[in-house]
C-alpha cells in the first residue's frame, strides 16, 4: 500500500499543496491533470527522488522521508519506476540496461545464464524480441522500444509497486495502446500496485480502477472512471469532454 500524507512541495512556486492519497495493494490508479500541477513530483516523492517540504510518502507503512539511506535503498528495490523518456543508460546495451533492474544480490548469486533468462523473459513480457534488441544501444531503438525496454528494466526485479511517469507520451496511438495493454497485463499477471501519471485521459479511463485528478497541487477528484465521466466538477468535466471529443474526432477520421 502507498500513502501520501499531507505532501507539500514548492520549488520557486508551490507545486504540491497538501496531497492526501492512499493506493491499495494491487490497485491500478491513474493520476491525471493539467501540465505543471505536480503529478511527476508526487510520483518522485514516492521513491525519495524528491523530498517533500512537509508531509510524508509511505510504502507498506515505511516512511520514505524519514528512512535511512539503507532503508531507502531497500524500499526502492520494491519499486519499479518507468521514466517519461525511459532514462536508459546510454553507454549500456539493452541486456546491460535491463539487468541493472536486478538486485545486486541476485546479480551475484543467479549466474549469467539465469540473469540472461530473466532479462529475456522481461523483454518478452513487453513484446520485444530479445534476439533482436539485446545487443542494441538505446540510441539504436525507436521511442516505443525504449519505453518498453524501460518497462522491462522496471519489471525484471519483480517489484511490488510500479510507478509509470507518462508512459505513452510521445508515442503514436498504436504504440500508446500497446503500452496501455502492457500496463494492464502486468498488473493482472503480477498483482503489482501501479500508479500511472498520464495526460492520456482516454487511456487512463480505460486501464485504471481509479482516477485521481491533480489541480494546482491539490487532489481535486478521486474516483472510478465511471464517476470521472459523470462528474459535475467543471474541470473534471472538461477533461472528460475533451476525451469524448478526441474519441469522436478519431472515429470521424477512421470513417473517412
Amino acid at each position: 500500500m502507498i500513502e501520501y500524507r499531507d505532501v507539500w512541495k514548492a520549488f520557486d512556486l508551490p507545486v504540491l499543496s497538501g496531497v492526501n492519497l492512499t493506493v491499495e495493494t494491487g490497485e491500478l490508479i491513474s493520476l491525471v491533470g493539467p501540465s505543471g500541477t505536480g503529478k511527476s513530483v508526487l510520483l518522485k516523492t514516492t521513491l525519495g527522488l524528491i523530498i517533500p517540504d512537509r508531509g510524508d510518502a509511505l510504502i507498506d507503512g515505511e516512511s520514505v522521508v524519514r528512512a535511512s539511506r539503507e532503508t531507502l535503498h531497500r524500499i526502492r528495490r520494491k519499486v519499479g519506476y518507468v521514466f517519461q523518456y525511459a532514462a536508459l543508460f546510454d553507454s549500456m546495451n539493452v541486456y546491460e540496461n535491463v539487468s541493472q533492474g536486478l538486485r545486486d544480490d541476485d546479480l551475484k548469486t543467479l549466474g549469467k545464464r539465469e540473469v540472461l533468462r530473466r532479462v529475456c523473459q522481461s523483454l518478452e513480457d513487453v513484446n520485444l524480441d530479445p534476439r533482436v534488441v539485446l545487443p542494441k544501444l538505446p540510441a539504436e531503438l525507436s521511442g516505443g522500444m525504449r519505453k518498453r525496454v524501460g518497462l522491462a528494466r522496471a519489471l525484471v526485479g519483480r517489484p511490488e509497486v510500479i510507478l509509470y511517469d507518462e508512459p505513452v507520451t510521445g508515442l503514436d496511438p498504436v504504440n500508446s495502446a500497446t503500452v496501455d495493454q502492457l500496463i494492464v497485463k502486468i498488473a493482472e499477471k503480477t498483482g503489482v500496485t501501479s500508479i500511472v501519471v498520464t495526460h492520456d485521459i482516454a487511456g487512463a479511463l480505460e486501464i485504471s480502477g481509479r482516477v485521481a485528478l491533480l489541480d494546482h497541487g491539490k487532489l481535486r477528484f478521486v474516483g472510478t472512471p465511471e464517476e470521472f465521466r459523470t462528474s459535475e466538477d467543471p474541470l473534471v468535466h472538461a477533461f472528460a469532454d475533451r476525451t469524448a471529443a478526441a474519441e469522436a474526432a478519431v472515429k470521424i477520421m477512421e470513417d473517412k
Partner: protein, 264 residues
C-alpha cells in the same frame, strides 16, 4: 552614475555572493569526498569501473600529455638559452629546464590537459545523465550514483595523474635537452651536469604530490558539477563551462599554495 557608497555596497554584495557560493561548493564537495571514502572503504566501488576510467583518463590522455610535456621542455630550453647566452654559464640551462618542468610545467600543463580532455567530459557526461533522469534511474534501482559514477573517476584520476606527470616530466626534460643542443649548442653532458648540480630528490616527490592533488581535484569538481546540472542541454553546457573555470582556478590556486608550503 552610482554614488561611491552604493558602488561599495554593490561590491561588498558581490564579494558576499561569491564567498557564499564558494563555501557552498566546498561544503558539497567535502560531503561528496566523505561519501566516496565511505563507499570505497566498504567495498562498494567496482574495481572494473576504476580500471575502465583509468584507461580512459590515462592511456587515452597519454599522447597529448607527452606532446604537451615535450613542448614545455622545448620552449623552456629555447627561452632559457636566449636569456643565458653571453651572461650565465649555459650548463645552468640543464637545471632551469629540469626544475622548471618537474616543479611547475609538468604537473600544471598535464592538469590543463586533463581539465580539457577528462574534466569537461565527466561534467558533460554526468550532467547529461542528470538531465535525462539517468541518475534518478540509478536511485530508483536502489543504486547509489556516488560509488557507481563518482568514486571510480576520483580514484582513477588520483592514481593515474602522477603517472602521466612522471612521463610528461621525462618527455619535457629529454626534449629540452635536445632543444638546448639544437638551439644554443649545449651538449648533453653539460645539460645533465647542470641538471644534477641543483637537483634535490624532494623535487620529484613534490612534482608527484602536486600531480596527486590535481588528479584528485579535477574529477572531484567535474563530478560535483555534473551532479548539480539542471535544465536540459543548456544546463549541461552551462555546468561544463563553470566546471572548467572552477578546475582551472583551483589548479592555479593550489599551484600557488605549494611553494610556500613545501619548498621552504
Amino acid at each position: 552614475m552610482p554614488s561611491p557608497t552604493s558602488a561599495l555596497q554593490g561590491l561588498l554584495r558581490g564579494v558576499a555572493r561569491v564567498t557564499q557560493a564558494v563555501a557552498r561548493h566546498v561544503g558539497q564537495m567535502s560531503l561528496l569526498v566523505w561519501h566516496i571514502a565511505t563507499a570505497s572503504l566498504s567495498g562498494r566501488v567496482s574495481f572494473r569501473s576504476v580500471i575502465t576510467q583509468a584507461h580512459q583518463m590515462g592511456v587515452q590522455s597519454l599522447p597529448l600529455t607527452i606532446v604537451t610535456g615535450m613542448l614545455s621542455g622545448v620552449v623552456t630550453a629555447q627561452q632559457g638559452g636566449y636569456q643565458f647566452t653571453s651572461s650565465i654559464p649555459l650548463y645552468v640551462l640543464g637545471s632551469v629546464v629540469a626544475e622548471g618542468v618537474i616543479l611547475e610545467l609538468g604537473p600544471v600543463m598535464t592538469a590543463f590537459v586533463l581539465i580539457g580532455r577528462v574534466g569537461a567530459r565527466i561534467t558533460a557526461e554526468l550532467g547529461t545523465m542528470q538531465v535525462s533522469e539517468q541518475i534518478d534511474a540509478l536511485y530508483s534501482l536502489g543504486r547509489d550514483p556516488v560509488p557507481v559514477l563518482a568514486a571510480p573517476r576520483l580514484i582513477a584520476g588520483t592514481v593515474v595523474t602522477p603517472l602521466l606527470v612522471g612521463l610528461a616530466n621525462i618527455a619535457g626534460i629529454l626534449s629540452g635537452m635536445f632543444a638546448a643542443q639544437m638551439t644554443v649548442g649545449l651538449g648533453n653532458e653539460s645539460f645533465l651536469f647542470g641538471a644534477r648540480l641543483f637537483w634535490h630528490n624532494w623535487d620529484m616527490f613534490y612534482s608527484l604530490m602536486k600531480a596527486t592533488v590535481f588528479g584528485f581535484i579535477i574529477p572531484l569538481i567535474s563530478c560535483h558539477m555534473g551532479f548539480l546540472t539542471r535544465g536540459g542541454a543548456e544546463g549541461v553546457g552551462r555546468s561544463t563551462t563553470t566546471s572548467v573555470v572552477l578546475m582551472i582556478i583551483s589548479v592555479l590556486v593550489l599551484d600557488a599554495m605549494f611553494p610556500p608550503l613545501f619548498l621552504n
